[in-house]
C-alpha cells in the first residue's frame, strides 16, 4: 500500500514537470510547427492529469477538444498562414514575408 | 398562481428574447433585418416590466432551474441593474433603427445575430448573481464585440479587432482565476452568499487583484486603454456606439458590483490608485482627443477620458459618489452613442472623417450636427444635460469628503472636453479646400442620433427618477450607516 502511493506520487510529480516542460517548449520553440505539435502533446498530457485528478469527464473532453480539435485548428491555420506568406513573397520578390520594419 | 403582469418573470425574458431573436436571424438570413428589428422592439417590453417591478416591489430574484443559489444560478435585479437594462434598451433601440439603414444586406445578415447575442450577453451580465455565470456572459460579450468590430473589414478594423480579442481573452482569464480562488475559499459562486461569507485572507486579496485587473483591462482604464481607440474608431458606426456606450460599461458595472457587494472594504491605497488612474485617463484621453485629426478617433479618445470619471469616485465617500458614477455611466452611454452615430453620418455623407475637411457640414447635415452639439453639451457637462448632473454629484462628493484635488481634475477635464467639441463644431462651419463626393444620409440615421442626444439632455432634466431607482436595493444605502459613526 505504501509503495503504491509512493509510486503514484512520483508519477504525479513527473506528470507536473512534464506539463510545465511541454508548456515552456510549446511557448518558446523557435519553429512554429514544432510549437503546435508540442501544444498538442501538452493537451494530451493534460488529459492524463485530469484522469489523475479523478475527472474522467474532463479528460475525455480535453483529449477530444483541447488537444485534438484545437490542434487541428492550429495546424490548419498554420498551413494557411504559410500559404499566405508564400503568396506575398511570390507577389513581391524583394519583400520577403518576415521583414518587419519597426518604427 | 396565475401569471398576471405582476408575477411574470420579466428578468429571464430580457435575456431570452434577444437570444431567440438572434437564432431566428441566423436561421433566416434573408429576413435578418425585419426579424432583428422586431426582436429589438420586443425587448423593450420585459425591460419596462422588470423596471416597474423593481420600482414598485423592490429587489427581484429569480432562481433559474428552480434550484436557487448556491446550487443553482440566481438572477438578481435591483435598481442599478434595471437602470443598466433600461440604458441598454434605449441605446440598443436607437442603434438598431440606425443599423437598419446603415448596413448593406451582406453585412446585415451577420450584424443582426451578432448584435442580438451581444444584447443578450449584456442583459445576462446585468442580471446575473453568480460569478462563474458572469464569466460566461463576459466571454459572450467580448467575442460578440470583437466579431462586430471586424465586420467593418479593412486593415485597421481587423488589427483593432485582433488586439481587442487578445485583451478581452486575457481579461476574462484573469477574472476566471479569481473565480477559482473564491470558490475554493468559500465554496460558493453566488455573489450574495459570498459577500456574507467573505473574510479577508490572501486568496481573497489575490482574487480581488486578478478580477479587478482583468476588468480594468476590459474597461480600458488608463494606462490599459491602448486597445480602445483603434477598435472603437475602426468599427462600423452603430458598433462603435454600442461598444463605447454599453460594452465598456458592462465590465465597469461588474467591477462596481464586486467592490460593493463582494469584496471587503479595501484600504485607502488601492482606492487612491484607481482615482489617480482615473484622473490620468481624463487628462491624457482629453489631450489625445484634442490632437486627433480624424473625428472618429477624437470621439474614441473622448471615451477614454470619460471612463476616467467613473474611477474618480473610488477615493471619495461611497454613499455620495456612487450616485454620481452611475449617472456618469448613463449619461455617457446616451451622449456617446449619439456622438458616434452622428460621426457615422458624417462619414457616410462625405466618405471621410478628417476634421479639417468637414466642409460646412453644419449646413448640409444640420440634424446630425445638432445631435453632435447636444451630445457635446453632455460630454462637457454643461447644464441642463445628464453629464452636468453627474459632474455636479461628483463635485458634491468631492467637497463633502474634503478632497479638493479631484475638483481641479473635473474642471480641467470639462475645459479640455469643451476644447475638442468646439474644435469640431468650428470646422463644421468652415469651407474645406478639398472637395469630396457626397451621398445622401438616410433620414432615420439622422433622427436616431438626434433622439439619443436629446435623451442625454433629458436625463439632466428628469434626474430625480433614475436617482430614486438606483437606490433600490443599493448596497451603498446600507453602507451609509457604517461610514458615519
Amino acid at each position: 500500500m505504501e509503495t503504491i502511493t509512493l509510486l503514484e506520487r512520483v508519477f504525479d510529480g513527473l506528470l507536473m514537470l512534464t506539463l510545465l516542460w511541454l508548456a515552456w517548449r510549446a511557448l518558446q520553440s523557435p519553429d512554429l510547427f514544432k510549437a503546435v505539435v508540442l501544444f498538442i502533446a501538452f493537451g494530451l498530457t493534460m488529459a492524463l492529469v485530469w484522469v489523475r485528478l479523478q475527472a474522467p469527464d474532463i479528460a475525455l473532453a480535453e483529449a477530444a477538444i483541447g488537444a485534438g480539435l484545437t490542434g487541428a485548428l492550429l495546424l490548419k491555420a498554420l498551413a494557411q498562414s504559410n500559404e499566405l506568406a508564400d503568396r506575398v513573397s511570390d507577389d513581391h520578390t524583394t519583400d520577403t514575408g518576415d521583414t518587419h520594419e519597426h518604427r | 398562481m396565475g401569471s398576471s403582469i405582476i408575477t411574470i418573470p420579466w428578468a429571464i425574458w430580457t435575456i431570452l428574447l434577444p437570444l431567440a431573436g438572434s437564432l431566428l436571424c441566423f436561421l433566416l438570413p434573408r429576413r435578418a433585418v425585419p426579424l432583428g428589428l422586431a426582436a429589438a422592439l420586443s425587448i423593450v417590453v420585459p425591460v419596462a416590466g422588470l423596471s416597474w417591478q423593481v420600482a414598485t416591489q423592490g429587489v427581484q430574484r429569480y432562481a433559474v432551474g428552480g434550484w436557487g443559489a448556491p446550487l443553482g444560478i440566481d438572477l438578481y435585479a435591483d435598481g442599478l441593474s434595471s437602470l443598466m437594462l433600461s440604458m441598454t434598451a434605449l441605446v440598443g433601440l436607437g442603434t438598431s433603427l440606425y443599423a437598419r439603414a446603415y448596413f448593406a444586406r451582406r453585412k446585415a445578415q451577420f450584424f443582426w445575430p451578432l448584435w442580438l447575442l451581444l444584447w443578450a450577453a449584456l442583459n445576462a451580465l446585468f442580471l446575473s448573481g453568480d460569478i462563474f455565470n458572469l464569466y460566461v456572459t463576459l466571454e459572450l460579450l467580448g467575442l460578440a464585440a470583437v466579431a462586430l468590430v471586424a465586420l467593418a473589414g479593412g486593415a485597421d478594423a481587423l488589427t483593432g479587432a485582433m488586439r481587442y480579442l487578445l485583451v478581452s481573452l486575457l481579461g476574462s482569464l484573469c477574472y476566471l482565476l479569481g473565480v477559482a480562488l473564491l470558490y475554493h475559499a468559500f465554496g460558493s459562486l453566488d455573489i450574495i452568499s459570498l459577500g456574507r461569507l467573505m473574510t479577508p485572507m490572501p486568496a481573497v486579496w489575490a482574487a480581488m487583484g486578478l478580477m479587478t485587473a482583468g476588468l480594468l483591462l476590459k474597461t480600458a482604464l488608463f494606462p490599459l486603454h491602448f486597445w480602445l481607440p483603434p477598435a472603437h474608431a475602426s468599427a462600423p458606426a452603430p458598433v462603435s456606439a454600442i461598444l463605447s456606450a454599453l460594452v465598456v460599461k458592462a465590465s465597469f458595472y461588474l467591477l462596481l458590483r464586486l467592490w460593493l457587494d463582494l469584496f471587503p472594504e479595501p484600504g485607502a491605497a488601492p482606492r487612491l490608485l484607481l482615482g489617480v488612474l482615473g484622473a490620468g485617463a481624463i487628462l491624457w484621453g482629453s489631450l489625445q482627443a484634442l490632437r486627433q485629426k480624424r473625428l472618429k478617433l477624437l470621439v474614441a479618445y473622448s471615451t477614454v477620458a470619460q471612463l476616467g470619471y467613473l474611477f474618480l469616485a473610488f477615493p471619495l465617500l461611497i454613499s455620495a459618489a456612487w450616485n454620481a458614477v452611475v449617472y456618469f455611466v448613463l449619461s455617457h452611454a446616451l451622449a456617446k452613442s449619439a456622438m458616434f452615430l452622428a460621426v457615422g453620418n458624417i462619414l457616410y455623407f462625405g466618405g471621410h472623417d478628417r476634421i479639417d475637411e468637414l466642409d460646412r457640414i453644419v449646413q448640409r447635415l444640420p440634424l446630425t450636427m445638432t445631435a453632435f452639439a447636444i451630445a457635446g453639451i453632455s460630454i462637457i457637462g454643461l447644464p441642463p444635460s445628464g453629464g452636468f448632473v453627474a459632474k455636479w454629484l461628483l463635485l458634491e462628493a468631492a467637497f463633502s469628503s474634503g478632497q479638493w484635488g479631484w475638483v481641479l481634475v473635473v474642471i480641467s477635464g470639462s475645459l479640455l472636453a469643451a476644447a475638442y467639441v468646439f474644435k469640431v463644431i468650428g470646422f463644421a462651419f468652415t469651407q474645406a479646400k478639398v472637395l469630396h463626393e457626397t451621398r445622401a444620409v438616410p433620414t432615420i440615421m439622422e433622427w436616431t442620433a438626434l433622439g439619443l442626444a436629446l435623451a442625454a439632455l433629458a436625463l439632466g432634466l428628469m434626474a430625480p427618477l433614475p436617482l430614486e431607482l438606483m437606490d433600490i436595493g443599493a448596497p451603498w444605502v446600507t453602507l451609509i450607516g457604517e461610514e458615519l459613526p
Binding site: A23, Q80, S81 | A147, L158, L169
Partner: protein
C-alpha cells in the same frame, strides 16, 4: 494536500502563458499562450478540489472546466480566423506597434 501541487502547477502554467503572451509577437503564438493560460486556470479550479482526501471529487469545478474548455475552443477558432484575415489584409502575422494614423 499533495494535490495542491497540481494547483501550483496551474499557477505555473498561467504565468508562463502570461509571459509568452506579452513577449511573443507572432499572433498564433499568442493564441497558444492564451490556451496554456486557460489550462492553468482550469488546473487550479479542479486541482484545489483535491485538497480533501475524500474519494469523490467536487463535480461543480469539473462542470465549470468543461464549460471553460468549450469556450476556449470557440475563442481559439474565432481568433485563428481573424489572424488569417489580418495577415491577408496587412501581410503580417503580428500587430504593429502603433496603429497607423491617417
Amino acid at each position: 494536500m499533495f494535490f495542491a501541487l497540481y494547483a501550483l502547477t496551474g499557477i505555473g502554467l498561467f504565468v508562463l502563458g502570461l509571459y509568452s503572451l506579452i513577449v511573443q509577437a507572432h499572433l498564433i503564438r499568442k493564441i497558444i499562450a492564451l490556451n496554456i493560460m486557460g489550462s492553468g486556470v482550469f488546473l487550479v479550479l479542479v486541482g484545489l478540489g483535491g485538497r480533501t482526501s475524500s474519494a469523490v471529487p467536487d463535480p461543480v469545478p469539473q462542470a465549470m472546466v468543461l464549460t471553460g474548455i468549450v469556450v476556449a475552443i470557440a475563442a481559439t477558432a474565432l481568433a485563428l480566423t481573424l489572424i488569417l484575415r489580418v495577415q491577408a489584409e496587412t501581410g503580417r502575422t503580428d500587430l504593429p506597434e502603433h496603429t497607423s494614423e491617417h
